[in-house]
Each structure stands twice: as structure tokens, then as C-alpha cells.
Amino acid sequence: MNAILEVTNASKAFGGVIANHDISLSVPEGRIIGLIGPNGSGKTTLFNSIVGYHPIDAGEIRFEGREISNLRVPQIARLGLLRTFQQTRVYTKMTCLQNMEISVSQDREGFADMIARPNPEVVGKAEALLEFVGLFAKRRLRAGDLSFGQQKLLEFAMALMNGPKLLLLDEPTAGINPTLINGLIDRLKRVNADLGITLLVIEHNMRVIMNLAEHIYCLAHGELLAEGSPEAIRDDQRVIDAYLGAH
């Protein structure tokens, strides 16, 4: 199977702090891959490196075979590699529907596109996706008036609106009501199966990641500690030690 994302020997240090060291991972197209690790293990740094927030010090990052570690954030996003944020980010003073409308793919955009009229097709798609995450009734409310969990769902819907090939989700279930988490797992699986979007998921909730991911990478202290199937990771003594703070 083709790897849509290939990280090879990536390293990143902030001054003397080594956030990522020599990390290699591969995300096959069409799959759901998990990324776990204790707090401060470098998961979000790796996400930031992949989507272009900061350059990596060494190694390479390839998306669909193309080197992207030298591209900037919006350029990478327009290639179809999108991320959601751990601290949810939506456009708080705009309505949910407006949040969705401006999230369409920006891959081609001349002057006429910049001043384009609202497109009924886009609005229809936005409403369908809001329905999908259960926010249709609130589409005319300002995003800032939603609860944290709902903003998380809105951000997820905005990412889908963009139609990415690969979506990086940073703790999609953090702050979401436990009864809604099952629904979210189900939705993530449907997005993967029906829309063909590859997912790379950071998650602290073990129940979620074990249910969701087909393959899991575990980071600790900025290094790749283990990888394997959910069962293998669950039984891996090194992973358990890392979470219990053995080193």
C-alpha cells in the first residue's frame, strides 16, 4: 500500500530541548493511524513540523511522494494535508455556517474567486456536514457561543469541508462529553471509509485510540518508542513504563 505521508529521520530541537529526535513514521493511504505518548513526548511538535509551522532540523517529510518540509503552512494545507488544533480553533465571531463556507478548499484562487458570491452548492455541502456532526440547528449561532465540545465538532466539520486527503487530528475527543465520544469514533470511521480521508490521530484516551487506529506509533521523550497494532502496543512493557514514568 502506498504511503501518503512518509516521515524519515525527522529531528527538531528548540535551543537545548530536543523535542523530536530521529523519528520515522509512515501513514499508508486510506488508513487510520494513531500517535500516542505521555505529555511532553513531542507529538504536537511532530504535527507542527509536518504541517509546516517550523522547519525541521534534519530528516525529510514527504506527502504523496513530494518533499514538503520546506513549504509553508498554507501551501501544505492547499496540497490536501490539514490539521485540527489541540486548543480548538474556530472563527468565534462568525456563525457556524460562515465558518464552514470559508473553509472550502483554497487550491485555486484568482481575483474573481476572492470576491466571489456565496455559492448555493457550497452552502448545501456546509449544511450537510453540519448535520453530520450534529450542529445543523445551531448553524446561525456564532461559533464562539458554542460549548467547547461543540466547537471541537465544528472544527472537525470545517476540516471535512476543505476536503483534505490526509487529516491530522490533535486530540479530537478531549473535552467532549463521554456519551458523545462513541458517536465521534463512529463518525471518524465513516469519514475514513466513506470519504476516503486518511487520518493521523493524536489521542490520550486509550479506549478511543484502541478502537480507532489500525496501527499505532508511540513517542516518549521525543523519540519513537514503539509501533505496532493496538494489541501489541497495549501489551508492550516499554509503553506501559513510559506512561507510568519509569524513565
Partner: protein, 348 residues
Amino acid sequence: MSGVARNVVLYGGLALVSLAAPWIFPAYQTQLAFLWLMVLFALSWDIVGGQMGYNSFGNVIYFGIGMYATVVVQRDLYYTVEEYAELGGGIELLLTPAQYLTGLGLGMGLGVLIAVATAAILGTGILSLRGHYFAICTLGLGVAAGEFASGWDYIGAGSGMVAPLFPDGLGERSLLFYYIFFALSALAFVTLRWLYSGRFGLAINAIRDDEDKAEAMGLRTTRYKTLAWCIAAFFLAIAGGGAGNLIGFIDPTDVAFAGSTFGVWMVLMAVLGGKGTLWGPVIGAVIFHVTQELFWIYLFGWQRVALGVLIVVIVVFFPEGIMGYLRQRRPDWFGETVAEADDAGGGR
């Protein structure tokens, strides 16, 4: 009343009142012309300052550019710089009505070209600054523009320039400029209403709310930001061309690049009415201008103090402006309603 009928009554009524105003209050024609200038200031400032969230104190640059460009064109089309100097520094610069209007139109056109080009160049450079850094940078640019104009002999240096005398045969000067500023304000309002309701409006609102998120979603933020500033420059340059001829005298720092008056007022008016809304700047400009005129009439000697108090009151009690206050109190008036039964779980 349906939405369309309400709009017809609202806009038609406003247009009628505006067209008739200088005839109903002939003694206040100049003040009324300035009223529309203030509306233009507030509307054009709000594009970048309100809708896009980039507080600019340098928009007055484009106003000054338009002002100088227009008078320079009016002069250079018909006189050499030496002849102009011999005419008592331009005090007796006489043009025929046709020459005057040609110069005015071409000058405004040139002003727009220079101002928009300047906005595009400056914007590409400094719109990557965020928050306070951008505000301070624009403040500095505004001051620099005034100093630059004060040192350039071709445009009169520190002694400024005098606009051509208003020729006989064109009626009242204030009446002509009243209608010019009214037409320009109406054009600005309609253009912005159209732009804000489409992709452009969504994009600059997104930049205001969370620029990092907008970039992460692939938005070409630099292009939108520069375009927004160019649109503001366009309207300000034309306004400047008209204002120079209406005022009659261009001082580089007190009239053209007047950061401490016009430059601050345009911010205050937009804030007072509610920045980031379409009607806010219009309402803010009207209230601010009328209040200011009243201060001059009834509190003469203390008018600057009263203005200062007004500014403090605006910032402290209406940080969101009048429209923002209404939107907080009555979100349903702005279409923010829950459509049907809550099916998403959780409270609002």
C-alpha cells in the same frame, strides 16, 4: 413588511433626505459635506481595522496622497511650478470651470493609482505584522509621510499647497463637494455591502478571528489583507482629492497627513458605531461629527476637552460600539437563532 420593501423604504428614504439636506439646511452645507467625509473615513477604516481586525493608524496616508496628487495635477496641467510660485504661492491660481473639473477628476484618478500602489507595496511588507506591532508601524508611517511631504519642495514643502480658487459658474463650492462626498459614500457603502456578503468578507473576518487557523486552512491571507488595504486606499484617495479642494489649503501635517485629528477620528467613529459591522461606521460617524460640531458651538474654548471626554466615554462604555452592543443584547435581530430542537447536546 418584507425584507425587500423594508430596504427600499430605508435606502430610498436615506437617499432622499441626503439629496435634500443641503437645501433644507443651506447654512450648514460645509458641515454636511464634512459629515459625508467622516462617513467615508469610518467606512474605509473599518475594512482593515474592523472587519479584518488590523488596527491601523496610518490610513490617513492615502487620504494625504489623494489630496496632494489632485492639487498637483490641477496645477501642473495648466501652470509650471514657477508660475504657480509667482501667483503668490498659488493663492491666485485661477482655472476655468472645465479646467478645474478636468484637473479634479484626473487628479483624483492619479491619486487613486498612487495610493493603491502604495497600499499594495506597504501592505505586502507590513501586513505580516500582528496586533500592536502593526498599529505602531502604521502610526510611524503616517508621521513619516507628513515629514516627507514637509520636506519636498515640488509639493510646497512645509508651507503646503493652495488648491485652485473655486471657479465661478459651478455654483456653491460646498454644494458641489457635498454631492461628491455623498455619492462617494454611497458608492463605498454599496461596494462594501457587496464585498462583505461574499467570499472577501468571510475571508477577512476569518483573518480577524484567527489568522493562524485561516492559514492552517490554506487561506491566502496576504492577498486578502493587501486587497483589503488597497480598497481602503482607493476610497480615501478620492476623498482626499475632494477634501483638499474643499478646504482650499493643504498643510502637510495638519490637513493632509493629519494623524492626530482625521487619523484618530476615523478609528473612533468606527469604534463608536461598532467596528466590524456595515452600519456601525456610518452611525458612529454621524454621531461623532454632530457631537463635535455641537461642542464647537456650545462649548467653545473647551471643545477639545469635551472631545477628549467623549473619546474616553466611547472606549470605556462602548468597547464593542453601538452595533456591537445591540448584537450582544439582541442576537436574534442579527439572525443568530437556534433553528430547531437542539439535537447537538449540551447547552448554548
